[in-house]
Structures are given as C-alpha cells and as structure tokens.
Amino acid sequence: MVKRFISVRKIALAAFAASLVVAAPALAQRTAAYASARAAGEVGEKMDGYLGIVGAATPALRAMVDDLNIKRRAIYAEKAPAASATIEEYALTSGCLAISRTVPGEKYQAPDGQWHTRGAAAPMRDARCPG
C-alpha cells in the first residue's frame, strides 16, 4: 500500500517534470513562422492581450495563433493570482505593453477595434494603458 502510494507520487512528479519541459519552449525566441507572420501583418496584437488574425485565416495561421494564445493565457493565469489580479486584468495590461512593443510594420488593434499598422509614432492605445 505504501509502495503504491510512493509510485503514484513518482508518476505525479514525473508528469510535473514533463510539463516543465513542455513549457520550456516558451522561453525560446519566436518561431520563424510566428516572426514572419508578425512582420507580414498576418497576425496582430489585440487590446485584450492576445494575438489576432488580421486578414484571411488559413488553417495553419489559426493553429499557430490558437497555440500562442493558449500559452499566453496559461501564463496570465499563472501570474495574475500572484499579482492579486484577474486573468483579464493581467491580460489587458499585457496587451497595452505588447502593443507598445510592436515595431513599425506590425499590426495592432486600436481602441476603435480596427487593425492598424504600427508606424514610427506611438500606437493608439486604450486610455487606461500606462505610459
């Protein structure tokens, strides 16, 4: 009985370790597909802290954006409680910053809900976004 309990714990630990390995690629740089989709304006930063597809959605583009957004949400869900905030609050704040960090040529969602191409000037952001 005791042995069995230990083995269950071991399996749980192994699963946890495996999940860490799976999460690790998030620390790496952008994939080539993501980087080129950003540069081409096929994906853009939304105000809510997630990525959106700007033009026509291909299955490959949809899969990539969904995958990135799921990973983003997992991080928001992890960080928000530690900061005594809701996922939505944390995501919106991240959206403010992610839009600020777009480079000229990339797409972002302005407060009017439309996609805009980032130029040399500061992007149009929600009035609540920090400077």
Binding site: R30, K71, E88, E89, T93, S94, C96, A98, R128
Partner: protein, 90 residues
C-alpha cells in the same frame, strides 16, 4: 481621518440622549424623503409618457470596462517582466 470619525461618533453620542435633537433630525429626514417623492412624482407627471427607441447601431458590450486604470498601472511592471521572460509567445 480617524480623528474625524471619532469626533463624529462622539458628537452623535452626546446628541442622541437629548430627545429634541433626535426628533428634529428625524423630521428633517422625513421632510427630505417627502420632497424627493414629490419631485419624482412631478417628474413623472411632466414627462407624461416614456418612449423607448431601439438603437440603430448594434450594441457593443465592452467587457473590459470594469478594469480600472490603477489596476493596470499596478500590474504594468509585473506584466512587462512576464513578456520579457517569454519572448517566444509575445
């Protein structure tokens, strides 16, 4: 802040046992309520009928409207660090 609250409470305690003050206070509350009712009644009488028009534009529900600017400012540093540490997905 605390001083003010204490002062208020003390004042109320000395006033309450004296019946006159209490009565006057209650009377004024009743009068205020009465005038409010009269105002509301006259407002209804003046407007006559209530017309409801459907908006010609679609109703957009702003889900994030309840998020306060101060919350975003508080989280900015933390969220910035998170983005820095996860360059692959941001």
């Amino acid at each position: 802040m605390t001083y003010l609250q204490l002062t208020k409470r003390a004042a109320a305690a000395t006033l309450l046992p004296m019946g006159h003050n209490r009565q006057r206070k209650r009377g004024s509350t009743r009068r205020t309520m009465g005038s409010a009712v009269v105002l509301a009644a006259s407002a209804i009488a003046l407007s006559g009928c209530v017309s409801v028009n459907a908006p010609d534009k679609p109703i957009v529900i702003e889900l994030n409207v309840n998020i306060k600017q101060e919350v975003i400012y508080r989280l900015a540093q933390d969220a910035g660090n998170t983005i820095d540490k996860n360059p692959g997905i941001f």
